[in-house]
């Protein structure tokens, strides 16, 4: 059998976890699929998992699981590994999915392949995983009594396969004090005053070093405001100290998924492209027609961002936007 650690929120399984279930189904190759859920709302979230092919949902019940505690969650996985002897354990390649599975891997000295996009059932287990934030793929074989893997979000389609409701089994994991040393002790909610969130924005305009200075972002700010979008930047800009790191689009910054991404004066290094490959349409504005971003964009304007961005804003105003 194959076990999937399912993250959930507000009583619903996360999309990335449903995608992990879809890949786990392929690994299971017809063998039963089990799920592990923990924390408030777990039972609610488990209700719909049968439709995704889950035969049994294990609900870990423990007061210490009310807030995120990665080692405790890894202990829950460890208990199920001991009890059920799964051939593989999967989770979403989210921050927490990767974290919890790495703890489980460390506890059991088991191999872990992070951010897989495909897998072929078998022993050893063959997977394809992403490197460089998705700019490169690696085919690999997993060896070991239990294979651990996470599934890169948005690379596998979740699918309902028409199964009946999953059986629910509750258990109380035995957790020691050491398992609870690392846990969230405080959650700070961010005020939403700061405008449109970069990760959720439907329109993003970014500038690279070509902006020339922190003040060089003013035309981009104006255009973003006009379209209810957000302003991003390249890593070169944050390293120069022109913008805060929270504005950085890239592999080590924010991953964006807007309807349109206007990338101005950005060369298109893999570091940057890893952060904007979720964009539906990319328009590159660059003075260099040979810039790598031109080969990875849908549309391009060859020109100076200092002239092009204000012209777009003026054209929008003419068309009556804003």
């Amino acid at each position: 059998m194959t076990l999937v650690y399912v993250e959930h929120q507000d009583g619903r399984p996360d999309d990335a976890s449903l995608q992990a279930i879809a890949l786990a189904r392929e690994i299971a190759g017809g063998a039963p699929l089990h799920a592990l859920l923990a924390g408030p709302g777990a039972e609610h979230a488990a209700a719909g998992l049968g439709a995704h092919g889950v035969a049994t949902a294990h609900i870990a019940e423990h007061e210490a699981l009310a807030t995120h505690a990665p080692v405790a969650l890894a202990r829950c996985i460890g208990e199920l590994i001991d009890r059920l002897s799964p051939a593989a354990v999967a989770a979403a390649g989210s921050e927490r999915g990767n974290e919890v599975l790495a703890h489980a891997a460390a506890l059991g000295d088991l191999p872990l392949a992070a951010n897989c996009i495909a897998a072929e059932a078998g022993d050893p287990l063959t997977v394809t995983r992403i490197r460089w934030g998705g700019s490169l793929l690696e085919d690999a074989r997993l060896h070991g009594p239990v294979k651990l893997l996470t599934v890169a979000p948005h690379t596998v389609e979740a699918a309902e396969v028409g199964g009946g409701p999953a059986a629910v089994e509750r258990f109380t994991p035995s957790l020691g004090e050491a398992d609870l040393v690392v846990r969230v002790v405080e959650t700070v909610q961010q005020s939403s005053e700061g405008g449109v969130n970069l990760a959720d924005a439907r329109f993003v305009v970014s500038c690279g070093r070509g902006a020339g200075s922190p003040e060089g972002f003013a035309p981009a700010e104006e255009l973003a405001a006009l379209l209810g979008g957000a302003v991003g930047c390249s890593r070169a800009v944050t390293i120069a100290g022109w913008r805060s790191h929270t504005d950085q689009v890239g592999q080590t910054g924010t991953k964006i998924a807007p309807e349109v991404y206007l990338a101005c004066g950005i060369s298109g290094a893999t570091q940057h492209m890893a952060g904007c490959k979720g964009a539906k349409r990319i328009i590159a504005v660059n003075i260099d027609p040979e810039a790598p971003i031109i080969a990875n964009a849908d549309y391009a304007v060859i020109g100076d961002l200092h002239e092009v961005i204000p012209a777009i804003t003026a054209e929008l105003r003419k068309a009556g936007a804003g």
Partner: protein, 254 residues
């Protein structure tokens, strides 16, 4: 206090990745190398904490002999000494962690205990998301991951993670392992005197102790759909109406 930073040498890939003929690695003949971005912030944080609290900072890399370049870079920013675990092979997450644990235990045998061990949350190249966590378990220490804010006080580390809706806070006793993310701080640039001093700082090299990989790399390949070549909308400001048309088709303009 004593701080260890584990940092990885990675190529600066630029715009296009080219693979070697055997499909085992990236063609790096024309590329420069750097410390993986998250770990650059680990180096900076270690230097700041030692400046404020006193003690010793050490940087460790597992990689080829050329990784000395990145270790000297870290020392030019203020790290006191360096350890290179040398191997020409690419280790998987399990093997990397095991080799680093051997090195940390050797330090302990020599009387050096690290209050904090920094890792990057994940490396820029292989992105295994696990080395710091594995090392923490082997040493019996707590590990907070993805940290973008840290305050060390009274033998504890208060660590902050960024979430979709705000921040999550952890509070762990030292000694601890912390995996950090870019944005934790803004790393400084090396000064010329810093570069000169780095040349004379101690760097110890030993062979990395390997083990059979649990994740066995077969081959690397480029994802499909590369190089789609953009449709040119125009040149200069005259292209603005065509850009607005794309925005309109995307439903962003009425």
């Amino acid at each position: 206090m004593n701080i260890l930073v584990c940092a990885k040498r990675v190529p600066m890939t630029g715009g296009t990745i080219v693979l070697t003929e055997d499909e085992q690695s990236i063609q790096t003949r024309h590329l420069g190398f750097t410390i993986s971005p998250h770990e650059e912030c680990g180096v900076e944080e270690a230097v700041r904490l030692i400046e404020a609290n006193g003690g010793e900072s050490v940087v460790l890399a597992l990689g080829p002999s050329e990784a000395e370049e990145q270790l000297r870079d870290a020392m030019s920013l203020g790290i006191d000494r360096a350890t290179l675990l040398e191997t020409a092979d690419e280790f998987d997450g399990q093997a990397t962690a095991a080799a680093i644990v051997v090195a940390i235990e050797a330090e302990r045998a020599a009387g050096v205990e690290f209050d904090l061990i920094f890792f990057g949350n994940e490396s820029a190249d292989s992105g295994n998301y696990q080395v710091g966590i594995r090392v923490a378990h082997a040493l019996g220490r707590p590990c907070v991951t993805g940290v973008k804010g840290i305050v060390v006080q009274d033998g504890r580390a208060r660590c902050e993670q960024e979430t979709a809706s705000g921040r999550d806070v952890y509070d762990v006793p030292l000694p601890a392992v912390v995996t950090v993310k870019e944005g934790l701080n803004l790393p400084r640039y090396p000064s010329v005197p810093g570069r000169l001093r780095a040349k004379r700082k101690p760097l110890a090299t030993s062979a990395a102790v390997g083990r059979d990989p649990g994740v066995e790399k077969l081959r690397l390949r480029l994802p499909p759909g590369q190089g789609k070549q953009a449709e040119i909308l125009g040149h200069g400001p005259e292209a603005a109406p065509a850009v607005v048309e794309v925005l309109r088709r995307a439903g962003l303009v009425a």
